[in-house]
Amino acid sequence: MIDLLAAIPIAAVICLVLFTALDIFWKLPKQGGVSGADVIGKELEKNGGDLNGGWMIGNIISSPDASTGTIFAACSYYVWGIWGALIAIVLVYIGEHICADKGFAGVSGVVCATLIIWLLTSFAGFPPESFIAGCVIAIFLVEGISPKHASRLLGKIWRKVS
């Protein structure tokens, strides 16, 4: 068993890497998919940020993405184990189509995060509630401190990968 204080930073790093990689894999920084995401990206670029990173932050805000999938996988695994994750997959799929999002970023986020959380909780002894705190810290690092610098960093990563 790992102590809760030591598990939270490791979970935060895992969640941050997981949903950044999934969002880049589904090509979210390429264009503003929903109409609100386009506007937020252009507003961030006007204030000294980066356009591609701004589009990615706008997509996270205005449609359910891999970050949504990650936090609900953590929450539902904490409540009811694997069965809760199945409920979360169905509900996130419905919610994604309410918000007029065409891709499968949310569902893939739930599936990948559930696999990782199941492996780490049953074999490495992480407490399940550490992933809730870890995912909140990860999304706070991306959007909460300074969206301008975060969009520059995300744009740099996107241009290096593509």
Binding site: L4, L5, I8, V34, S35, G36, A37, D38, V39, I40, E43, N47, I57, G58, I60, I61, S62, S63, P64, S67, T68, I71, F72, C75, S76, Y78, V79, W80, W83, G84, I87, A88, L91, V92, G95, I98, C99, E129, S130, I132, A133, C135, V136, I137, I139, F140, E143, G144, P147
Partner: protein
């Protein structure tokens, strides 16, 4: 105790920062972080299977709301 403390501190900080930010479109990222923290707090408050439905319904609703605010604001500024 620690997990609840993290959710509460991040939600309160982002609510304060969203209110005191002068531009409307730059308030929306802070509002989104607050929604994440509140959805975590809903699940921590009552660990029961229907709570998953409540948390996802709250999050989808607030996402739809910020999308509508952003697109209408942009359409008004263009005119």
């Amino acid at each position: 105790m620690i997990v609840e403390g993290i959710c509460v501190v991040i939600a309160a900080y982002c609510a304060i920062r969203a209110v005191f930010e002068p531009k409307t479109l730059k308030k929306l990222p802070y509002l989104n972080v607050m929604n994440f923290a509140v959805a975590g707090a809903i699940v921590l408050l009552m660990p029961y299977p229907i709570t998953i439905g409540a948390a996802i319904a709250y999050f989808i609703g607030s996402t739809l709301e910020s999308n509508a605010i952003a697109s209408t604001f942009a359409r008004l500024e263009e005119q």
